[in-house]
Symmetry: C2
Subunit: 143 residues, 2 copies
DNA sequence: GATATTTTATGATAAAAATCATATTTAAGA
DNA sequence: TCTTAAATATGATTTTTATCATAAAATATC
């Protein structure tokens, strides 16, 4: 459903949401290890997220990655789009093109409503929402 | 969501469901062109489907691919699994492992019910179902 | 200002997925 | 039985995705 890159990006953001702050920055190694992603790889992903202002970073000693209050309001969908591009989640199940309700493919009716519901949730749910969910012990951050 | 290979496989099976029969076999070129898939590629996919008995084939002159009555009862999910393997649709959204409701990841609650509903439908819906849907003009076979 | 520590920019390599190519086998029909 | 039309087996190539590596730039602290 998502690319590895997208999964890793979400895990990293979530880890930052739970464990970092403006005064508690995290260095690459301290992110890569707990979320179990090769550190050179997550480094590249973090760079991209930082460039798109989804996460914050400062370099040099005492530097690292963190989220601002604003960035806790980032929607999950924005993270996915930042690394995977927009198309992936809207593509039709049978063609490589956009899904189209006016000219539905043969599988369209089997999935459209549910896919839509999922997409709506991904567009609405913020990192802060997920953070609270985790804090309440209702879900985990898998390795 | 699906690999190109899976999309192509479903399109090809559907095309056979609508246009072929034991007495009206179709040759690779007559499948590849209308569904708009490179013929060397679809050939390879058809070979795999044939080996798994999801479609039928005979070689030599007057040969080609077709579906038997039994094969019209193939479930969409079986086609996907035949070419992509079983894991893809059950993998957790955040880890690369199996989705697990006892230890739900942070995105689990956003998608589980819907993903399940979709999977159930893919497991239940047959090529014959889809064929009728197309015949009734309720959906199309995209190129 | 020199040094150490961090991100950033860039690109190389590896693995997987998609695509292309072709020689071999099978079966029909002349 | 020969020729021809088809699938089948096999493998090569290309493209995309995932992963690894490193030199350059920035900043805190001494
Ligand atoms: S048109 Fe194919 S999934 Fe909507
Ligand atoms: S545990 Fe991650 S999607 Fe179910």
């Amino acid at each position: 459903m998502f690319s590895n890159t997208a999964k890793y990006a979400i895990k990293a953001c979530l880890f930052l949401a739970v464990n970092s702050s403006e005064v508690n920055k995290l260095v690459i190694k301290d992110i890569a290890e707990p979320i179990n992603v090769p550190s050179a790889y997550i480094a590249k992903i973090l760079q991209a997220l930082s460039k798109k202002d989804i996460i914050s970073s400062t370099r040099g000693p005492k530097g690292g990655f963190y989220l601002t209050g604003d960035q806790l309001q980032t929607k999950v969908m924005q993270i996915i789009e930042a690394v995977d591009g927009e198309e992936r989640l809207n593509s039709c199940l049978l063609s490589l093109e956009k899904c189209n309700s006016d000219n539905p493919c043969s599988l369209h009716h089997l999935v459209f409503d549910e896919k839509n519901k999922i997409n709506e949730r991904l567009k609405k749910t913020t990192l802060e929402d997920l953070r609270q969910h985790i804090m309440r012990g209702e879900s985990i951050l898998p390795l």
